[in-house]
Amino acid sequence: MSSLSAHVLDEIKELPGKYPQPRSAVMPALDLAQEELGYLTPEAMSEVAAALELDPGYVEGVATFYSLFHLQPVGKHRFYVCTNLSCTLRGANEIVDHLKKAIGVDDPNAVSSDGLFSYEEVECLGACEFAPMMRLDHRYHYDLTAEKIDQLIAERRSPHPPASPATSPASGEVSRPKRTRKKKDA
């Protein structure tokens, strides 16, 4: 039994035809895998490799190179807080400290006990005029304060959080592992 569902594997097999050369499909394919599973397991990378007729070591080499691919479980919502210079000069470190306490996680590889949240400090996100800022799932949030962080967390803890705007091919870091989600939804 494969870890990726049949329709995702079918979709992955369609990808190479969209590019001048098939190898370009590797990252979009990993996106689809990550979207389904929440992160990239060795099995998933191996299945992606097989679907694209590539060496699994090659696929892992690509997955481990780029920071938007996750190789371990992430929260249903992930905070990417910029701590490069422009944001740090305007209080990004205090924002990170507050966030870590608020979600009860102090390691980028950990997930909050309710499975909802994880975080990482990231390099410049290219919205420096709004510093301090961060990306939460697939949206940027600007002029951060401790209160804004608290509010974003509260909205996502409530039973019916506002739907985030629809997004694209994306890197899929929004979803937590599929099995957990199924259990919760059941």
């Binding site: 990252m27 210079l85 422009s86 470190n93 990231v122 005029e129």
Partner: protein, 439 residues
Amino acid sequence: MPELRGSHGDAPNHVLTRWFGTPDLHHLEVYESKTKGYSALRKAMLEMAPAEITGEVKTSGLRGRGGAGFATGTKWSFINRDAPGPKYVVVNADESEPGTSKDRYILENSPHLVVEGILIAAYAVGANQAWVYLRGEYDEPHRMLVEAIGEARAKGHIGPKPMGKDYPLDIRIYRGHGAYICGEETALLESLEGKRAQPRSRPPFPAVKGAWGRPTLLNNVETLATVPWIINNGGAAYAKFGTDKSPGTRLMSVSGNVRTPGVYEVELGQTFRHVIMELAGGPPEGRSLKVFWPGGSSAPVLPASMLDTKTDMESLAAVKSMGGSGGVIVMDDQHCIVRAAHRLLKFYAYESCGKCTPCRVGGDWAVRTYERILANEGSQVELDTLQRVSDGLQNGRCLCGLGDSAGWVIDSTIRHFREEYEDHALRHECNVGAVAVNA
């Protein structure tokens, strides 16, 4: 519609941002009716020969706005338009130089301006397909660009016969996945081909062998967004802005310790005093400006005493810095230069792709040395080590400029703030105000 923090509306030097702030500018209908959008594409395809288009861009003197500042028209002329087989335009939309947000500003405000520039470039160099390599984290620009491309396709500007001319044009998007190195053009090409983004050795240059082994024109978002104005108004009109060698205007994203951070359109040759103190409002009440990075974190720093330096590339080169990406990071007197440099070295060490050994190991050496100094374990040895590590990172020892940039942070901060380094390394004290950069 995203909040606008920067230049928009009518002003004598607003070439790019003239129509920014117009409601629904991101929709084709508004872009066409209010701003004469796509008139440049029409003119280029119906009234001009490809060589004339390239000639007009040459006349404008436009230089690449991504960082290197290479002459755009010259770059276009490197593509052999008549060579058989596919050719590509690849748009570098992987904006990730620290302190730089101008391409995001353009894409969110006027995506059709970028689309139009891309189509003109593709037609001029003989390409039928363009690929926008868009930073993976740029969700909003992605939504805007997808919508704009869709509208342009529905209107026929993208498709088999744009403007009724039998010359198919297509634009596709490829999303990055988080790697600063992809801003480097050959690393970007590797990534576009589905590989780890490690720079290629040159030659061959992308104009000969670029994306998927084919002749490729690589341009930055801002560079291409400037092209429609040049086609509409003529290269000579553009060259009237700015200085002789750095003509035109450019977007400068001003961030850090200023009262009104924003993306400002600046005529090249205006001073940083104008940019930082007037446009961005200067440092907050009660603080004074200490230092600024004039062109992204990779541009060697300039102290407050050099605020009258001009923004054109030649003036910056004369003070051993560069215009780079146009990201101006401003730091006030409450912050410590050694901690700021340490933070940036952590960035360069993390983002090194690992292909060239001097960069792969040099960044970590620098970070460790900074950490000893900041832990009050420094001495003259650490100061000397920093200098030697910096030398090792620079001077063409690597395939791309990432290592050089790391070295420039070390060099330029020591050059202008030696006393502060000595306070830390030799006397184990920090004599800067209460708020320090917690790197």
